[in-house]
Symmetry: C2
Subunit: 349 residues, 2 copies
């Protein structure tokens, strides 16, 4: 499988070259797909930045715009469902660009035979998430496809936020000696999804961390601390976000594994499944990069908020022309935390 996947992405286009699950993993294959197929045709100075949300100027206002499709399987999971996830994910993409989330557009692709009772639960979860965050759903679309042409329901949400920050956090603004912070324990969303998948038949108490990060991020942006990068941790996990920051900012990152907050049950399930939690998706956690002299102040703000109680300083930015992310391991060594070529866990979000 591994070499097929590799070939499908790197061969010249021919009849054999096709989309693989790895292309959706958030790893290197996803990145290749974007760089080799999307950007050559659709790229421009805004899209090419590959931010969680793009910031554009209208006549007067600066807005942030995001879009994400949610195809999570199962659609109901401990800690949320595809509806709450779609609203949280969109709010988070806007918030990390320093934008106040205002409006959401949502499109629903549903399979013939999908239960209206389940649809209702999903819509109610979206309603709650919108209300809690003072966000309005302003336009929507529904499509129905024949039985077997999609799996239950896919939701695509596009968010619009107003940018008021003068200096917008960006994946490309990390500077040498900046500190790296994570807002809470990692890997819960992905592990919660995996634990509910039938093929694993696991009993687990892990709940998804799916949450809106806006109130916490707003607290940070309202302070006098200049945060250089903010990025929410989704597909590909903490490891992927750190690599994206290293690449975009042209720096290296060194993290201390012993400082990374991970729930015991998440670490234990990771051991059982043989999966490194650094690569597991979150849906309510972010990475912040800040000048080292303000790192403790930033940590104090995070700790003051319910979503940041487990926040920690986990490493720092270093000068490295190879843009590597290196982890100091708990047993005293060090290892390269590379972006995965692909992972085998589709439909995590």
């Amino acid at each position: 499988m591994s070499s097929d996947v590799f070939n499908s992405c790197n061969l010249p286009i021919n009849d054999q070259a096709c989309i693989s699950l790895g292309h959706g993993s958030g790893g290197k294959l996803s990145s290749n797909l974007i760089n080799e197929f999307f950007l050559p045709y659709l790229g421009n100075e805004i899209l090419n930045e590959l931010e969680d949300a793009s910031v554009v100027t209208l006549n007067q206002d600066n807005i942030a715009v995001s879009i994400d499709s949610f195809v999570v399987n199962p659609i109901f999971f401990p800690g949320g469902n595809i509806g709450s996830l779609s609203v949280h994910g969109t709010i988070n993409d806007l918030a990390v660009r320093g934008a106040k989330p205002l409006f959401i557009a949502a499109s629903f692709i549903m399979e013939e035979g999908f239960l209206l009772e389940d649809l209702t639960k999903i819509i109610q979860a979206m309603q709650l998430a919108c209300r809690q965050n003072n966000v309005k759903l302003i336009t929507a679309d529904t499509k129905v496809v024949n039985k077997g042409d999609c799996d239950k329901i896919f939701i695509t949400t596009s968010g619009i936020g107003l940018v008021t920050a003068n200096d917008i956090p960006s994946v490309s603004k990390a500077k040498v000696n900046n500190n790296i912070l994570v807002s809470g324990d990692i890997g819960r969303h992905g592990m919660a999804i995996m634990a509910t998948r039938e093929e694993f038949e696991l009993e687990s108490t892990i709940e998804s961390d799916s949450a809106s990060l806006y109130s916490l991020i707003n607290l940070i942006l309202a302070s006098d601390i200049q945060v250089n990068c903010l990025r929410d941790i989704t597909r590909g996990g903490l490891a992927t976000v750190l690599n994206e920051i290293a690449m975009a900012s042209g720096i290296g990152i060194v993290i201390d594994e012993s400082q990374i907050p991970i729930q015991t049950n998440v670490a234990a399930l990771g051991e059982i499944l043989g999966i490194d939690p650094l690569y597991i998706a979150c849906e309510g956690r972010f990475v912040a990069v800040v000048d080292e002299i303000r790192a403790q102040d930033l940590l104090a703000i995070m700790h003051s908020h319910p979503l940041g109680t487990n926040a920690a300083i986990i490493g720092k930015v270093v000068d490295d022309p190879d843009n590597n992310v290196i982890a100091k391991t708990i047993i005293g060594g060090s290892r390269l935390v590379d972006t995965l070529l692909f992972d085998e866990l589709p439909r995590i979000c």
Copy 2:
């Protein structure tokens, strides 16, 4: 089938109540789904207007926002593909609200095994459609699902346009004695899709009318003619748009069938398949409602543009508390042009 579909929408929610193909048809079942499931939870003064794009005010600027998922089958058809269709559809939704289309966000859900060669053609078509209309794709997402979890590729596009018009055309602004115009011959998109479906095994020369309407609409908006309603004709066809206008404006509409432009091959295929072209989707046509004294001027502007050469005045707005749409037939009678409960043609767009 018909009564099952009906039951699935009107029964109290129980285990039998499920999404049917009719819920995606653009007809009455679609409307019921929106009114009974979406609006009670997610409704607000903006969403409730059910416009093609919603207009909201930021700090300073008025923007129009649209979202649509495209699940058309087949993905390549005479006159376009799912990529060009997704850009045209989004531009048209913005244009009919008097907005200048500026930005598009796009999300791609792809099936494992989907050919990269096909993806490339689709992306190239999006590139061309964006360039021709001076629209930028500013943010995107890609998701991959397992083989069999979706059919090839679904594209969701959200559009953002800047509204400069003072008096924004709206589905609710038709007034008694206004004239109804259609911008060109109807039904080509839906008939082109149906003719290519394997189950019909038809040979046809019909090409989709998929096109960006912005340049034609811009010509109209730049004139001194105040257009009350503009609505592009998509799922459910001309009949559905006219019923939406009648309902939202609280008026009735009388159209003259002999004045409705329809290509001979579209009418002929309609006869063969037993489908009324009034209910067939277009993707490059719109309805305009205007004061009767300016109808000829508006028609002249339409005729001056390549996309409006077949434009025609097809009827007028009348006082009718029942908000009926009535067609004077070619043989001299009249018939009620109701919204269909559902049609059996999924995945037309």
